[in-house]
């Protein structure tokens, strides 16, 4: 896209010296073209054990019934829908990065969009399994589709937010998958071109006959843009609709108009946290420090800070509205969240989502990889609690006090959740073995304009305001992949 020289004061998006197109390909394809290392095997073993636990727990549920979970007559949803919303939310970062940031020409997305999109797809798969699993009769799930049938005019209920959900999630999944795969085509072609034998045959089928001609590239760019355009509204719509599962009901604590924006912000919040969780490890293990740089990390932390603050404001608004409404049941629902039997869940949520992300105001913390990783985990925990608080603490004490009840999870509840994380990581780990985890083609696009070496060349050529040069060199201080001392001579 951008072939012109970029302003010197912008931080580089690719670090390292002597990075060539070939070097990028070599670096990115290292895990794909070589046998996995010890770290991968350990990770994969743990993750697939988790996935096995998921298979066991889900099978147990299918065999005996939903009664295997801790639900009861009062609390009809708990860890299932908590898990569902959590995973769907996580998916949102991928779409935001790939679509919205593309439209806004945020080139830094190029290094992270591939993994983020992959994460989206795997997260949506995990979420979808919850939709299936939480049904009492999953074998009748087809009833939720508006298929022609022999029962006269028997149709689905268009009033039900769950039907909206069916469409939202399935659209989201299919668009994300197409977008992701389209982006993969040139990179798969690269693998094909370097591979031999059976691998070559497989990748050539997968590459859909990519030729790399100018026309192909032009169409590729067009399709990417169109798909970005289609995906962008999904960033907002999917979680809006998920939030309507709650907002359109009449449960105190659910029946709130603030839910759509609040849920979308929360989704992006948790999604970026998950991207951070994954990439901070991946860049180290896969040796991608030059492509996923401190600039990326810091940018994502800023987004986490922003969305975390939005979520915090939403929490406070909810409390205020409950007070201001003077609605008896609404007020009780929020008092109960704060000080009822599940107070610890509410305060875990508040701490993890509102208070700790504020630490990202400090640059030191934003650019500290271990801290950023820890905080990303904290945010993930907090967002899980948010959904748990919304679902369980609203349901367990609603209108009729005689039916108030507590929810206690069973081993099956816990196993399905832990197992879904295992499933997610199994898929992700397989993904980084067989497909490039960084969009090579897109990174190559910005090599000439936004890389450290390109900027260095500008500096070496002179013609730069000394103040700007100093600013630029100063900004490199945070990069763990740059030797700032090497700039002393320049």
């Amino acid at each position: 896209m951008a072939s012109h020289s970029e302003s010197i004061i912008r931080e580089p998006l690719i670090t390292g010296t002597n990075i060539t197109y070939g070097q990028i390909t070599d670096d990115v394809l290292r895990p794909v073209e070589n046998m996995p290392g010890k770290a991968w095997w350990i990770g994969f073993t743990v993750a697939s054990l988790g996935a096995t636990l998921w298979v066991v727990a889900i099978s147990y549920t299918f065999w005996f019934g939903i009664g295997a979970w801790g639900l009861n007559k009062t609390v009809g949803w708990a860890w299932d829908i908590t898990g569902f919303v959590w995973w769907v939310g996580i998916g949102h970062a991928g779409t935001l990065i790939s679509a919205v940031l593309l439209l806004f020409r945020q080139n830094w997305r190029n290094s992270i969009n591939r993994s983020a999109e992959a994460m989206t797809i795997f997260a949506v798969i995990c979420a979808a399994t919850y939709i299936g699993a939480h049904m009492g009769r999953p074998w009748m799930a087809v009833y939720s589709l508006p298929l022609p049938n022999q029962y006269g005019s028997l149709w689905v209920n268009w009033n039900s937010p769950l039907i909206w959900d069916v469409f939202a999630i399935s659209t989201y999944f299919s668009v994300s998958l197409v977008f992701w795969y389209t982006g993969l085509l040139p990179d798969i072609a690269t693998i094909r071109d370097r591979a031999t034998g059976l691998r070559r045959r497989i990748y050539s089928v997968l590459s859909f006959g990519w030729t790399g001609s100018v026309k192909t590239w032009q169409r590729f760019e067009t399709v990417s843009l169109i798909l970005a355009g289609i995906s962008t509204p999904l960033v907002l719509s999917v979680h809006t609709i998920v939030s309507m599962d709650f907002a359109t009901s009449l449960e105190p604590g659910w029946h709130t108009t603030i839910f759509p924006p609040y849920f979308v912000a929360g989704a992006i919040f948790s999604g970026f946290a998950m991207v951070q969780t994954l990439l901070l490890v991946a860049r180290k293990v896969l040796g991608l420090e030059n492509y996923i740089t401190m600039f990326h990390i810091e940018s994502m932390n800023k987004i986490i800070l922003l969305t975390g603050s939005i979520v915090g404001v939403a929490y406070l608004t909810e409390l205020f509205i409950a007070f201001y409404s003077q609605a008896e049941y609404e007020q009780y629902a929020f008092m109960n969240r704060i000080s009822g039997p599940y107070w610890w869940a509410y305060w875990s949520m508040m701490t993890c989502n509102v208070i700790t992300p504020q630490l990202f105001w400090f640059k030191k913390i934003r650019t500290n990889i271990p801290l950023a990783w820890t905080l990303s985990i904290v945010v993930n925990i907090g967002m899980w609690f948010e959904r748990f608080v919304i679902i369980v603490t609203s349901l367990h004490r609603d209108y009729i006090p005689s039916s108030w009840a507590m929810f206690y999870p069973t081993w099956v509840d816990v196993s399905i959740f832990i197992g879904s994380i295992g499933l997610f990581f199994t898929m992700f780990l397989l993904f980084i073995r067989v497909l490039p985890s960084v969009a090579m083609a897109e990174v190559k696009l910005i090599l000439k304009s936004s890389s450290e070496q390109a900027k260095r060349k500008i500096l070496e050529n002179g013609h730069v305001e000394p103040a700007e040069a100093e600013f630029y060199i100063g900004s490199l201080g945070k990069f763990d992949s740059v030797e700032q001392s090497s700039y002393e001579k320049v």
Binding site: N72, G136, S402
Partner: protein, 1018 residues
């Protein structure tokens, strides 16, 4: 216009070449190479097209056939010769009798599936208790004794008869006694059979033995009036009722009858005429009756005698020797006030006491006599025959056994090995008896000790009769052939007494022909048939005479005081043993419907417990569910603690009827046996004792409660008013004191059409006593699964109707308002002033049903008759509807409760499944269910009216909960019919709708609870 244009296809045609002309003669210009294809390589190519199609066709066909696995076919065999009166799909009703109460038995295709009250029954006029409703399930109990047994091994009836006759003859010859031990029998025929037996074996004697007896009352009446009878009480004639521990609405003598009578002075009709009875209850544990009282005061068992003496003094204006003031000032005042009110209502007052102590009951008689209750609220001339057991007789019998004077014992519906307070003494003594015969239909505790088990029929398989109250005779007729190889006990007795009448049916006929039919003005075969149809005869009651008490009271007072003093021992807690409403004396412990019926007060299922006051629990640092060991009268049990608001401080209550060890797999080891806490004193069994020791065991056994939050948090879900306020404004407390707010004024939705019917309900909170009979009736009608203790603990009971029970506290010192909020209750120190309200809660059939909008697959939709309906087949089980139901009345099938070996206490066998109502489908796991307002009954009613070509009459369709309600608290009907009972009930100023502010437009209107609080009290 003709066209002369000629088109040609090619130059050949234009030129008409000879070749063209030649070729064009044939149909095809060129020969088709058919032969070539058929004989050439066309078909023998590698994969010719035809072969491929053939293979494909065969393949698909074969796979299809292989996939058509044979579906298991259950051949239903139609009647070869159809009985005239049985039409498949149409229910037949037979009149019969349950424990003296006339009933109707609903049978389908020859099997009884439900028991319903007989509207002409004198007791409850169609109402039926939970136990009666549940009794049909016992018929299908697979754990019944299936064959007669001699010494534990199956035998044939002739063998048994030969053995018994031989033994009896030998025993009679030896001069040893023969004893027939039965629970109270009031059946004229059975009594005659026993008399015949006694005539045959002169050493034989009949002993009435009731596990929970009323000897105290009977004996007191003997002492006071020379009439050893259990009086017939008329609560409907009482304007002021003071009860000392008598749970007359729950378990005392004839609760269904008393409920009907009691409510008649408190229901809408009574309120509209500005009349409401006053009910004051003094008791230790919170009983169902206590929850309904206008004023209820917790007193210790040891204070009861003193309180009664004070009441006597206050009523009589005298002071009996030894009487003293109660230590609790508030209760002392209450007694004084109660006395004033009683005296003011002279002739329309009633004092009852639950005690089985003769002296206490004598004092009660004295008070009632002063109040002129005899002849009005108490009828001694048409006595009740429901309980005739005499404690002393049984104690004497055990002594006889010990002395070895008895050669044979026959147990009929009596299980002293379980429910006698000194069971060990009894079982040891029983070993000395040569012949022990049990008629039990289960291998119960006593049957296991018997040589011979001659299993009795279930009552639905039996012939018989009953005479539960003077002048009221009912008939028992079988509704099914005996399921197992059982024989009616009376038949066995006839055989063993070598009676000339060979079968019991003839015997019953003879009894009725000889005298009983004539009492009802009937005679002959026709009279008998009419009796079978009506189920009863009722003779004109004898005039109730007035009785004057003439017994010396000072000695009585002394006995009472001695007894009271014996219950006080330092700071020791006092124990009260009571009958729970669901389990009674424990005879039906193997009935899962009853085990799962939440106790009306504590909401506990599948267990008994130690009820303690909140203050005591706080003081001792106990938690609910802590198992404590209680020791009294040399016996101890370990039961979990229940925090019971209203429990008298320093007391613990434990229910009998639990802790069976040989009831069957359902009832075995559910709870602990509390009968051994009884003591024998002054000729009767006493239900109170001093707890010599109690303390935590360290075990925690959480109780399976269906309700764990007990206050209504000041929410408008419950609305109540005082009778004073009601008299000023009938709308008091209903929230409609001003104008009734129309929440539907600005609705987003179009209203559903309800062109003909609009089925709704009205529930009178002031009539509902909370007994829970409706819960069991609903289970029986709608095939509601039993889920067991663990599932109830997980809050998964399936009942479509539940009774919400809320406590509120009156903190007199601080505020006039009742304290209903959890957080404020936690601050209270005095928990004695408890008010209770019962609220039946079921699907409200909202016209703007929140469940309907959220179901993704339209599995729950609105009918054109105002019903919210479930299509089970369409449900995929997202549970969204249940979450969005503000009333939380939807129930999810978490497991396959009726076909999962882990839920072995209910329908997990084909035999018990015969009790299912064929009009209601059973639900698979993963499906939501809820109250359907007995839509099958609505359909049946409409169909009947249609076939008879007439409009449906109001009240013709009764839903199951309404039908069994002795209090008539539930009215069901068509709101479109402005003359219907339900329409009128809903027009009452007291009517309000629960959560109406949500504008879900519920279809069930509730009527405000009214409390007749004392006007004399400050």
């Amino acid at each position: 216009m003709d066209s002369n244009k000629k088109y040609w296809k090619g130059l050949e045609e234009l030129n008409k070449t000879p070749e063209f002309v030649e070729k064009n003669k044939n149909e095809f210009a060129e020969p088709i190479p058919i032969e070539e294809v058929l004989s050439g390589s066309g078909l023998s190519a590698k994969t010719p097209r035809r072969d491929f199609l053939k293979a494909l066709g065969f393949g698909v066909g074969a796979v299809t056939l292989a996939a058509c696995q044979k579906v298991p076919v259950h051949k239903s065999i139609p009647y070869l010769i159809k009985p005239e009166e049985v039409t498949p799909g149409v229910a037949n009703y037979y009149s019969s009798t349950y424990e003296g109460q006339a009933i109707l038995v609903k049978t389908r295709e020859g099997r009884p599936i439900k028991v319903e009250g007989n509207p002409n029954d004198v007791f409850a006029k169609g109402g039926l208790s939970a136990q009666a409703q549940a009794s049909v399930l016992d018929l299908y109990d697979v754990n019944r004794t299936k064959d007669p047994k001699i010494d534990g091994s199956d035998a044939a009836w002739p063998e048994v008869d030969a053995f018994v006759l031989r033994e009896l003859a030998a025993i009679a010859a030896g001069g040893k006694g023969i004893r027939i031990v039965t629970s109270t029998i009031h059946s004229p025929s059975t009594l005659a059979v026993i008399a015949d037996f006694v005539a045959k074996y002169p050493t034989a004697k009949h002993i009435n033995y009731d596990a929970v007896s009323y000897t105290g009352i009977i004996q007191a009446n003997q002492n006071s009036f020379g009439k050893a009878a259990l009086p017939h009480y008329n609560f409907d004639k009482a304007e002021v009722i003071v009860s000392f521990g008598a749970d007359f609405l729950g378990s005392w003598i004839s609760p269904e009858e008393f409920t009907r009578q009691y409510v008649s002075n408190r229901n809408s009709k009574s309120l509209e005429s500005k009349k409401m009875s006053r009910h004051i209850q003094f008791e230790a544990g919170m009983s169902l009756t206590g929850t309904n009282a206008d004023n209820r005061y917790p007193i210790k068992p040891s204070e009861e005698g003193v309180a009664l003496l004070s009441l006597y003094n206050a009523v009589a204006g005298t002071s009996l020797a030894g009487s003293k003031k109660l230590s609790n000032k508030a209760i002392d005042n209450a007694i004084t006030l109660a006395a004033k009110e009683l005296v003011a209502a002279k002739g329309k007052a009633l004092v009852v006491a639950g005690s089985n102590d003769v002296a206490t009951q004598t004092l009660v008689n004295a008070i009632n006599s002063l109040l002129g209750s005899y002849g009005s609220t108490i009828d001694l001339d048409n006595p009740s025959k429901q309980f005739a057991g005499n404690d002393q007789d049984f104690v004497a019998f055990v002594n006889e056994l010990t002395r070895g004077e008895v050669g044979a014992v026959l147990f009929l519906n009596a299980n002293p090995a379980y429910d006698y307070f000194k069971a060990k003494d009894f079982t040891d003594a029983l070993k000395k008896v040569r012949l022990k015969i049990s008629f039990s239909d289960h291998d119960d505790e006593t049957a296991l000790l018997s040589n011979v088990i001659a299993p009795n029929h279930h009552y639905l398989e039996s012939w018989g009769d009953a005479n539960a109250v003077e002048g009221y005779y009912t008939v028992v007729q079988p509704t099914i052939n005996p399921v197992y190889n059982t024989r009616q006990a009376e038949q066995s007795l006839l055989v063993w007494s070598e009676s000339p009448v060979k079968d019991y049916y003839t015997y019953v006929r003879n009894t009725w022909d000889k005298g009983l039919l004539a009492k009802g003005g009937l005679s002959g075969q026709k009279g008998w048939e009419e009796l079978l149809q009506k189920g009863m005869i009722k003779t004109a009651p004898l005039a109730a005479g007035t009785y004057t008490f003439g017994h010396e009271l000072n000695a009585v007072a002394q006995t009472i005081l001695d007894h009271s003093a014996s219950l006080v021992s330092g700071d020791n807690f006092e124990l009260q043993v009571y009958q729970s409403v669901a389990m009674g004396d424990g005879k039906r412990a193997n009935n899962p419907w009853l085990q799962e019926l939440p106790d009306p007060v504590s909401k506990v299922t599948w267990d008994n417990f130690a009820a303690m006051s909140l203050s005591d629990i706080k003081k001792l640092g106990y938690e609910e569910g802590d198992v404590i060991k209680i020791e009294a009268n040399g016996y101890s049990v370990e039961v979990p603690v229940l925090a019971q608001p209203g429990q008298a401080q320093g007391t613990i209550s434990v229910a009998v009827g639990y802790g069976r060890v040989s009831a069957g797999p359902v009832g075995n080891n559910v709870g602990k046996n509390a009968f051994p806490f009884y003591s024998f004193r002054n000729g009767t069994l006493q239900t109170t004792a001093v707890i010599t020791k109690f303390g935590k065991t360290g075990i925690i056994s959480p109780l399976a409660q269906t309700q764990t939050h007990h206050s209504y948090e000041g929410r408008s879900v419950i609305r109540e008013a005082s009778f004073t306020a009601y008299k000023k404004n009938p709308a008091a407390g209903s929230g409609n004191e001003g104008e009734h707010k129309d929440y539907n004024k600005t609705s987003l939705w179009d209203d559903h059409d309800r062109p003909v019917y609009d089925w709704v309900m009205a529930i009178d909170l002031n009539a509902c006593t909370g007994c829970g009979a409706c819960v069991v009736a609903c289970s029986a009608e709608n095939n509601i699964p039993v889920v067991g203790k663990d599932e109830v603990k997980r809050r998964r009971e399936m009942h479509w109707i539940r009774i919400d029970r809320y406590y509120s506290f009156n903190d007199h010192g601080n505020s006039e308002e009742a304290v209903t909020k959890e957080k404020e209750i936690a601050k209270l120190t005095n928990f004695d002033n408890v008010s209770v309200v019962h609220q039946p809660m079921l699907c409200q059939h909202c016209d703007h049903a929140p469940c309907e909008t959220v179901c993704p697959v339209l599995a729950t939709v609105h009918s054109s008759e105002g019903l919210n309906q479930m299509a089970y087949n369409r449900c995929i089980g997202t549970r969204y509807c249940a979450n969005n139901c503000p009333y939380k009345v939807r129930r999810f099938n978490w497991f396959n409760y009726w076909n999962d070996s882990r839920f072995d206490n209910y329908l997990n066998n084909e035999h018990t499944q015969l009790v299912l109502n064929p009009d209601v489908t059973t639900r698979f796991r993963g499906v939501m269910e809820k109250c359907s307002m007995c839509v099958q009954r609505i359909q049946a009613g409409k169909l009947k009216a249609k076939m008879e070509k007439r409009p449906l009459k109001d009240g013709e369709i009764k839903v199951a909960c309404q039908q069994t309600c002795s209090a008539n608290a539930i009215v069901f009907g068509n709101r479109n019919d402005k003359n219907s009972e339900v329409y009128k009930a809903l027009q009452s100023e007291r009517t309000y709708y629960v959560l109406e502010e949500l504008n879900v437009q519920p279809g069930i209107g509730y009527q405000v609870k009214v409390r007749n609080l004392s006007e004399l009290e400050a």
